[in-house]
């Protein structure tokens, strides 16, 4: 094919024209930028207390959904409660990252059982779990409960099972734990107060 000078010019002119058209604004332009939409605009807010240290900062937890029947709440953001007299809206690095604690991949989801000498967990039902724990407790208590000491004094204690209580659980959990555990006669009872 012989490209004459004329055709060459035509090609060049075409290219130039095309780019000029583009430059004149025929190309799709982007919308003028604006700030990211505010992510809490309609989230549900729940008041809570930071579970880490004993400053007990006030929290506001923001969750998905408006608590309608068909929506399942999931907390996606937590920030300090500005009305709280101690933290006044602030949070420390641990508290500011609480949302990742709630959604930690290491959260336990189901009761699990590890048989003696085995290498893995087996998922069990709550009923199985409670039944097994109660059975172990009763067998041990019945076998080792000490109603009277050597001197014949009533002591009513059970020393072969112990209980370590949580220290980030609520007063209500703590209270019912104390009540239930003491009723069995357990004395090896402690919490995180020391460590």
């Amino acid at each position: 094919m012989k490209v004459t000078r004329r055709t060459f010019f035509k090609v060049c002119a075409g290219g130039l024209g095309g780019s000029t058209v583009a430059m004149l604004g025929f190309s799709p332009d982007k919308a003028l930028a604006e700030v990211r939409p505010f992510k809490l605009a309609r989230s549900s807010e729940t008041r809570n207390t930071c579970p880490y240290c004993s400053v007990s900062c006030g929290l506001i937890m923001h969750s998905l959904g408006d608590k309608a029947k068909n929506a399942e709440a999931s907390i996606f953001h937590i920030e300090g409660d500005p009305d709280h007299p101690v933290n006044r809206g602030t949070l420390c690095p641990k508290g500011a990252g609480l949302v990742d604690f709630i959604h930690s991949p290491n959260r336990l989801k189901y009761p699990e059982y590890r048989a003696p000498g085995t290498k893995e967990w087996r998922r069990i039902s709550w009923d199985e779990a409670f039944t097994r724990v109660a059975r172990l407790m009763k067998d041990d208590r019945d076998r080792n409960f000490i109603p009277k000491n050597d001197a014949g004094t009533t002591v009513n204690r059970w020393l072969t099972t112990g209980f370590l209580a949580a220290s980030a659980s609520s007063n209500e959990s703590g209270y019912i734990t104390h009540k239930a555990i003491r009723s069995t006669g357990i004395l090896a009872f402690d919490n995180q107060a020391r460590v």
């Binding site: 982007k30 930028a33 505010f38 920030e79 809206g89 602030t90 949070l91 690095p93």
Partner: protein, 293 residues
């Protein structure tokens, strides 16, 4: 169109004026290093609010972690153990975008609307317009923007423009346990900073001062430094930051000069052709070879 778009006073790679009729108060974030305990709550709150998560890294023999700003860490604490006349001092600086009044990133950016500046002073990146060239990194006097390995767009602190737009303080400001980071109008922040400098002077920090570098037109993130005479002691805070001659030349004079120059070459050529006509083989030589035929 949302109202905030009207607050844009400057837009990268745009030759026509931005809408600028609507005025909002000029804001500033004040970081008082003398109150900072380096707890990193700001780092966490930033990631949490902006839904970014950096890699779980390693320890490098320092408390700093992540070690540097990344596309996911828009702010990091930098720790300097400095011996001064007062003995050992631990100067801990929250590093991040300074939101310059005269932003080098915006100047350098070739993509229209990828970097914008609002009338409240916030310099924001709009990643949907970002082409990933990294010119903003070249233009920034504070070495702030970071290119994402995932999407090849740059990211940096937005000063929580989304929060500020609805009347909230930035996430790092809200979370700061000791009130080392405060937020308000720039005027109020300067006043607050002056009070802090007075108090520090009383406590024996004779050279306490405000860091609001004028080389970039002032910033919308300002520091109170115990030793304002030694900004470098704070993990290399630049003493007199400015956009710099190279970037100025590149994104300043060079643009019109070069464009004009090229146009003149083209026009010159055209004129030459029109005036002098084509350069053809002379009749004489043509004849010479006609003989041969």
């Amino acid at each position: 169109m949302a109202l905030q778009s009207l607050d844009i006073i400057r837009r990268s790679a745009t030759t026509t004026p931005s809408p600028g009729q609507r005025q909002t108060p000029e804001v500033a974030k004040l970081i008082d290093i003398s109150k900072c305990i380096g707890c990193k709550a700001c780092q966490v709150a930033c990631m949490e609010w902006n839904d970014t998560r950096d890699d779980i890294g390693t320890n490098h023999g320092v408390l700093d972690n992540p070690l540097d700003l990344t596309e996911n860490s828009w702010t990091v604490m930098r720790y300097a153990e400095v011996e001064t006349e007062r003995g050992l001092e631990w100067l801990i600086r929250k590093d991040g975008c300074m939101h310059c009044a005269n932003p080098g990133c915006l100047k350098a950016c070739p993509a229209p609307g990828a970097v914008v500046q609002y009338s409240n002073g916030i310099v924001d990146f709009h990643e949907e317009n970002c082409i990933g060239c990294g010119y903003c990194i070249t233009g920034c006097p504070f070495n702030i923007p970071r290119l994402s390995k995932k999407d090849s767009k740059v990211y940096k602190c937005t000063l929580c423009s989304d929060r500020v737009a609805v009347g909230l303080e930035p996430a790092c400001v809200k979370t700061c346990p000791t009130g080392a980071i405060v937020f308000g109008t720039k005027e109020d922040m300067i006043r607050h900073a002056e009070e802090r400098v007075r108090e520090l002077t009383e406590r024996g920090f004779a050279k306490a001062g405000i860091y609001d570098p004028q080389g970039v037109g002032g910033t919308h993130v300002i520091y109170v430094l115990q030793h304002a005479d030694k900004p470098e002691a704070y993990c290399g805070l630049p003493r007199n930051p400015s956009i710099g001659p190279m970037v100025d030349l590149w994104k300043g004079a060079a643009k019109p000069v070069a464009t004009l120059g090229l146009a003149m070459v083209a026009v010159g050529a055209f004129c030459h052709y029109v005036t002098k006509g084509p350069n053809e083989v002379s009749e004489e030589i043509e004849k010479e070879f006609e003989d041969e035929k």
